[in-house]
């Protein structure tokens, strides 16, 4: 059941990704992106990362993508999309480079299951025990506010800076 | 005096105060209102000079080699320590620094017109760096201070300099930074080699002393260190940054550059290069190369100086010639040569500093540095003329001035081992007259033709206050240099003896001896505390017991020292 669901979500994600890249209409790209994010959220659930799945849907798909949508609409890009996708040599180069990338990665995955490192990989029992004991929120929250508290604070400041920066950049010159 | 100093614990805090108080002064300057910045800076440095005078009494010429020592862990993991110490060589370098700084600042009151606060703050920062260099016992700390001196100087030249200041500043910075980076590599290699012997990690000079190195390693390390210091000195083919930097730098910058910063190079040779790489230091090729470069520097720089139309550039080239005497004195590796080299360093600091100050005063009056714009000034500015003549004579080493003592000893010391090269170097005294007298003549003598020179004011009270101490020192050190020489003597003898021992008995044995001598102190007092006790350091002579101890503990493989019987 889980495997089947994974492949369904995977197919959705890959399909959505292609949609993002290949759709001429930005709004359509954006919607495909939302779909992809949703699929990935589904996979998160399969990996018992319920909290992240929720955040993915609420924050990513819900907030960030809507922000993108707002910008697209603000700039009124929905109807004039001719010169958007590269063609000719540009397209070829893009394809070649990412193809090479894909090739390299594929080479790495070949025979991964026989890799001794993979053989010695721990099972999900540890995580299961942790989740059983603390619940997903507790399991994330505890290190977040202890071991990672500095990073957490930094990220908070980063968000503030980004907020101020975005306002400063986007507002009209007075 | 000594009792007073003891009573206030002078030897415990003096060096730290001399390094860090300038930073406090920098803060004071930055917080003060713009128009009072220079006065605060001058007062501060003058007070520091008075403070540093205590070193004269606190340093006991009969005492151990390194005095006023202290050692605090800084980066314990790597063995980096904040370790300070003072020997006869650094004593005078520190005094020279603390003396030059207030005079340079006092001499810049009229010259520096913009960003005064920043300027004086940088000068104070510079003082921290320089005093730090001269008192560091830890190579890492030394490197930090060595680099620290670069930054303020870069800004001083680059911001307050003349027309081509940016070019000069960048050239100065890149040139010296290149050398010191190679030195950093050398320091790290040396450190790694020392650790490879199983010793605890340490950058302390005395710990690194006697690190076993093959001759090839020594030569490479020597090259790395020597390049850094040769650029700083500067030795002949690496000197071209100097005229540019000197000409473009504002007066106080030139003064500090000539009087003190150049000495960082020769000081480095003396303090680190000779003892750390004793075999390389007497390797015939190395010695010949260094001596030849020194001699070329003396003659070549004198020639080039003689045809300069720009007075400041002329004096800049004379610095190269003077430092040539220091280089040959150092690499002749005789007591007289080293003493002479040190005296030249001191004397050059005083006389060239004064020359730059005087040229700066002329520049303030006429806004030109070209020699041909002057002439006949002796009639309008007799006081300035007197100062310039005495300074010029001290610079060309007239007996009775400090310049003579230095050059005489340096040449004598070189002659003891390398008569032919010393003979060539001695022609420098002829060429010194060849470059200096025409300049003096064309500035002070000849007909007073230019009407602008006619209304030139003579020295003001402030300017007299700047020059008088320097002129007095030139003559005092020329007539009675013995107090200086006798304080430097133990340090110089120790270096010569150490290098001799290292080559006669092999570096391991000599290192063991030096280490043993230090160890003797530590065993007596308790190894850990010893380093913080003033006076811990190389102490001579070693006792036989300590030697045995060292042999058994540190270098188990080197039984049977030649020369151990004595």
């Amino acid at each position: 059941m889980v495997d089947v669901l994974f492949f369904v979500f995977a197919a959705m994600a890959v399909g959505g990704a292609f949609g993002v890249v290949l759709q001429k209409n930005p709004v359509a790209s954006l919607l495909f992106m939302v779909g992809t994010l949703g699929a990935i959220a589904g996979i998160f659930v399969l990996f018992e990362a319920h909290f992240l799945a929720a955040v993915q849907v609420i924050v990513y798909a819900g907030a960030i993508m809507v922000l993108f949508l707002f910008v697209i609409m603000l700039l009124n890009l929905g109807h004039d999309y001719r010169a958007d996708i590269r063609s000719g040599i540009g397209a070829f180069l893009a394809f070649a480079v990412s193809g090479a990338f894909a090739g390299l990665l594929a080479r790495q995955f070949r025979g991964a299951e026989e890799n001794p490192l993979y053989q010695r990989f721990p099972g999900p029992e540890g995580m299961d025990a942790l989740l059983a004991e603390q619940g997903i929120v507790g399991a994330i929250a505890r290190p977040l506010y202890t071991d990672y508290v500095v990073a957490f604070e930094l990220v908070a400041i980063l968000l503030l800076v980004a907020l101020v920066g975005a306002v400063a950049l986007a507002k009209r010159r007075v | 005096m000594t009792a007073l100093l003891d009573a206030i614990g002078y030897d415990v805090w003096a060096l730290h105060a001399l390094i860090w108080l300038p930073l406090l002064g920098m803060l004071a300057v930055l917080l003060a209102p713009q128009e009072r910045a220079k006065k605060i800076a001058f007062g501060w440095t003058a007070a520091l000079f008075l403070l540093s005078l205590g070193l004269w009494w606190a340093f006991d010429p009969e005492g151990p080699l390194f005095q006023l020592t202290s050692r605090v862990e800084w980066i314990a993991l790597w063995g980096v320590s904040y370790a300070l110490g003072l020997d006869g060589i650094s004593l005078f370098m520190v005094l020279l620094t603390t003396l030059t700084m207030p005079l340079a600042i006092l001499g810049s009151f009229r010259y520096i017109r913009k960003h005064e606060k920043a300027f004086y703050a940088l000068m104070l920062l510079l003082q921290t760096g320089i005093v730090g260099v001269f008192t560091s016992m830890d190579l890492f700390l030394f490197y930090v201070f060595f680099e620290l001196t670069l930054v303020p100087m870069y800004f001083i030249v680059g911001v307050w300099g003349g027309e081509r200041r940016i070019y000069a500043a960048i050239k100065f910075f890149l040139y010296t930074a290149l050398g010191s980076l190679l030195m950093l590599v050398g320091i790290l290699y040396l450190y790694a080699q020392a650790r490879a012997t199983g010793a605890p990690p340490s950058f302390h000079f005395l710990d690194l002393l006697g690190t076993p190195l093959t001759l090839t390693e020594q030569l490479w390390l020597f090259a790395a260190f020597a390049l850094a210091f040769a650029i700083k000195v500067p030795v002949f083919p690496f000197h071209t940054w100097l005229p540019d930097a000197h000409v473009e730098a504002p007066t106080p910058g030139s003064v500090v550059l000539a009087a003190i910063l150049l000495k960082l190079g020769t000081y480095g040779f003396l303090r680190f290069v000779l003892p750390l790489f004793p075999e390389a230091a007497i390797h015939p090729t190395v010695v010949m190369v260094m001596l030849t470069l020194g001699v070329i520097g003396i003659i070549y720089a004198a020639w080039v100086a003689a045809v300069q139309p720009d007075a400041k550039k002329l004096v800049a080239y004379t610095s190269v010639a003077h430092m040539g005497f220091v280089v040959i004195g150092i690499f002749a590796l005789t007591v007289n040569g080293l003493q002479g080299g040190l005296m030249v360093m001191i004397s050059h600091g005083i006389s060239t500093g004064a020359l730059f100050l005087i040229l700066g005063m002329l520049y303030e009056r006429r806004h030109t540095r070209a020699i041909e714009d002057f002439g006949g000034l002796a009639r309008v500015t007799p006081l300035l003329a007197t100062a310039l003549i005495i300074t010029a004579l001290a610079s060309i080493g007239l007996p009775g001035t400090s310049g003579f003592v230095g050059e005489f000893l340096a040449l004598l010391g070189t002659f003891e081992r390398y008569p032919v090269l010393a003979g060539l170097a001695t022609t420098g005294v002829i060429f010194a007259a060849y470059y200096m007298l025409p300049m003096v003549q064309r500035i002070l003598f000849n007909r007073l033709e230019n009407p602008e020179n006619r209304s030139m004011p003579d020295l003001s009270g402030r300017e007299i206050a700047v020059l008088a101490p320097l002129v007095a020192l030139m003559i005092l050190l020329g007539v009675h240099p013995t107090p200086v020489l006798e304080r430097m003597d133990p340090a110089v003898q120790a270096i010569v003896e150490y290098v001799d021992d290292a080559n006669r008995e092999g570096p391991l044995a000599a290192a063991a001896r030096a280490e043993g001598e230090r160890f003797a102190v530590e065993v007596g007092v308790g190894a850990r505390e010893a380093r913080d006790v003033p006076g811990a350091g190389l102490q001579r002579p070693a006792t036989p017991e300590s030697m045995d101890l060292v042999r058994s503990m540190h270098w188990p493989g080197t039984a049977g020292f030649p020369g151990q019987e004595e």
Partner: protein, 97 residues
Amino acid sequence: MLVEALVLSAILFVIGTFGVLLRKNAIIIFLCIELQLNAVNLSFVAFSRFLGIDGQLFVFFVMTVAAAEAAVGLAIIISVFRHYEAVNVNNFNLLKW
């Protein structure tokens, strides 16, 4: 299941890369970068299933940074658009030498 997740992650990442290189619309390029980030997130989550909770924490941070990046990036796009009346990256070539 780990390997499959990683392969999916790789595929998504390559597609994102392809998109970045292929498209000229600055907004779409941003979307593709988000796609790449998500591919990485997927890897993190997959690993975290077996290796501990830290992977999820990283994803959390990546999301935050992505949010900040999107905010600033979009603000830049808006201000650039005001200047050029376009979001085509081929137009932006003044920032050189």
